[in-house]
Chain length 337, copies 2
DNA sequence: GATGCAATACGAAACGTTTCATATAATAAG
DNA sequence: CTTATTATATGAAACGTTTCGTATTGCATC
């Protein structure tokens, strides 16, 4: 059905090699250029990327394995990543493993069969076992958001400085006199959760505050989780005077819980949220936030991957750490003791 | 680097055809089976899907072109779709065109170069012009969520009965005596927006109510948009007594606006929301909802696509209309006149 | 141990490109 | 008008599979 280069050759009387050269940006004689272009139009020729891949041994496809597709942080990363990669003619094959270790491994195998040129992974399996085949095949592997310590010198990564981010927020609060600071984390065991907890603990220690487990809650990075975590915090006999929530969905849930509880911000409770709440200018105009550069994460990851691919297999691994930003709102107040 | 079937042939002393048969589920002599499996393990053989694609003329890849990746309705569809397709060994190549007609067309071209076996599209270009090449190539094209009338007999589709969904909600409200019903729609011109508006208007007419433009607002299917739309509705001199919001993000925004405004539900205002709010059991336990079967949409789309692919090119097009469900909560009350 | 018949194995030719090494055409110089 | 020089064109082989049609094997039967 579809026309091939052979058809073009017959139509134009040119050799296959000439056509190939033309399509790959080489110079051909003017009259041949015209000839080729006419034939392409006439036969509706479309280059066959599959054949090209076989010959060149590059699929121009990148596999992306993520834990969940229904998380705005993840999708905004993927979106900016895909944008950059497709502009460079790379296809993005997305595999959602639903935070399941077995599925994650299957996804990697699947992608290896398809001979992806590179692998980008927001890892579920913290041991990194699922990446073995990809590493053995010698393709670049790039972790995002979550580092796997044991793979430090085998892979590249784009992450944010989680401990510093949490520290920023908590120091802000301690600096204003807060000593009972509620923390809403993701799921225990996740890289980001642990790092952010450490940042929190360090900042408390700096301020000479003894941490209290009661104030540390896990909200599973979901809106519902954040809502419940905050409800629990509000139910404590000694309520926290400030609150730091560590992702977007949970911040939303937290705000709903606070509104429903009739808690005034910052009069009754100081709040620092997380991620692109600032987009909802109308809704939470004055929320103090820690912002991750999600678009940059995606772009950085894509560009780093392109670098690795361009280096002809002789790549050295890099860990890119992006920094977060504290956006001042008016959801935090000085605490008079 | 990577081992090929030729290497296996050398290692085992068998012919290529025998190996191919083995890998495609054919029967081989027991001793050969053992031989092959040993060789596969020894050489770390991984089948090359690219070569297979070239030979079989099937890429086992499906292109998915969507307007936005950062919309929970879309991602939950994609997620369930990808799940089904990957189980059948199809790769999903996702292209986010950011609701841009030009990008959408580029995405389709891109996918055609990669010789995807099928195309799934939540269309931005309402004329369908971007699908021309795909249709010309004779691959199955499947629209989701949004129909393109002019392509009715050229493509398949999985949609919901939008007019009926809106009608369900509005009839519920008129049945209880409401006559001033606020409607929060997506963006004007979108298929779903128009259909839902029609459903609303029809239901009003049935109830003998004259529609009032003041009560019809456009929230762009975003949380912020929903928030603002509701704020506007609340600012009216004659406030609506009931509210119907037509997607998940806007419902969230609406609820925030209502909470902030101190509006009690259903005492001050009856509300019907949209989509999987029921997941947030803790947060909005009693919200009456119109639910789209998003998981089914993804699954149906995937299965329909698999059908079309399996039919060896002789497919007939089908439009699958899934129905929505009204989940009763207690956010709607009888209006005493 | 020959004979026949399944069952299984095989060799070679594709699929649509790219890429050599070589050949030809165009241009410049003598 | 040759010859040297460069620019462009070419044929054939390869990439790693699948798929024919045919060849071989194993086994049961005589």
């Amino acid at each position: 059905m579809a026309a091939t280069m052979k058809d073009l050759a017959r139509e134009t009387g040119l050799g296959l090699a000439t056509l190939s050269k033309y399509f790959n940006g080489g110079t051909v004689r003017e009259k041949n250029r015209v000839l080729i272009e006419a034939a392409v139009r006439k036969l509706h020729y479309v280059p066959n990327e599959v054949a090209r891949s076989l010959k060149t041994q590059h699929s121009r496809a990148i596999g992306v394995v993520i834990p969940e597709l229904s998380n705005t942080f993840i999708t905004s990363i993927i979106s900016s990543m895909e944008d950059v990669l497709r502009k460079h003619d790379y296809a993005v094959i997305v595999c959602d493993c639903r935070s399941d270790i077995r599925r994650e491994k299957e996804a990697v195998e699947f992608l290896m069969h398809r001979r992806v040129d590179g692998l980008i992974n927001m890892a579920t399996d913290t041991t990194g076992a699922h990446l073995k085949t990809a590493l053995a095949a010698g393709i670049p592997v790039l972790l995002i958001d979550r580092l796997i310590e044991s793979l430090r010198n085998k892979v590249s990564a784009v992450i944010i400085d989680n401990a510093h981010a949490a520290g920023q927020a908590v120091r802000k609060l301690t600096g204003l006199g807060h000593r009972r600071i509620g923390l809403v984390l993701g799921s225990p065991g996740l890289y980001t959760t642990d790092c952010r907890l450490n940042g929190y603990l360090d900042a408390l220690k700096e301020a000479g505050i003894e941490p209290d487990d009661e104030y540390i809650r896990y909200g599973n990075y979901t809106m519902d989780g954040g809502y419940q975590a905050v409800q629990d915090l509000l139910a404590l006999k000694r309520r926290p005077t400030a609150l730091f929530v560590t992702n977007f969905e949970m911040t939303l849930g937290a705000m709903l819980a606070l509104q429903r509880g009739g808690i005034r911000i910052p009069e009754d409770l100081s709040v620092i949220g997380f991620d692109k709440l600032e987009l909802f200018g109308e809704i939470f105009p004055d929320l103090t936030l820690i912002r991750q550069p999600q678009l940059s994460i995606g772009r950085e990851a894509a560009n780093l991957m392109l670098d690795l691919l361009g280096s002809g297999g002789s790549f050295s691994h890099r860990i890119v750490t992006l920094s977060t930003e504290l956006t001042e709102g008016s959801s935090v107040r000085v605490l008079k003791p």
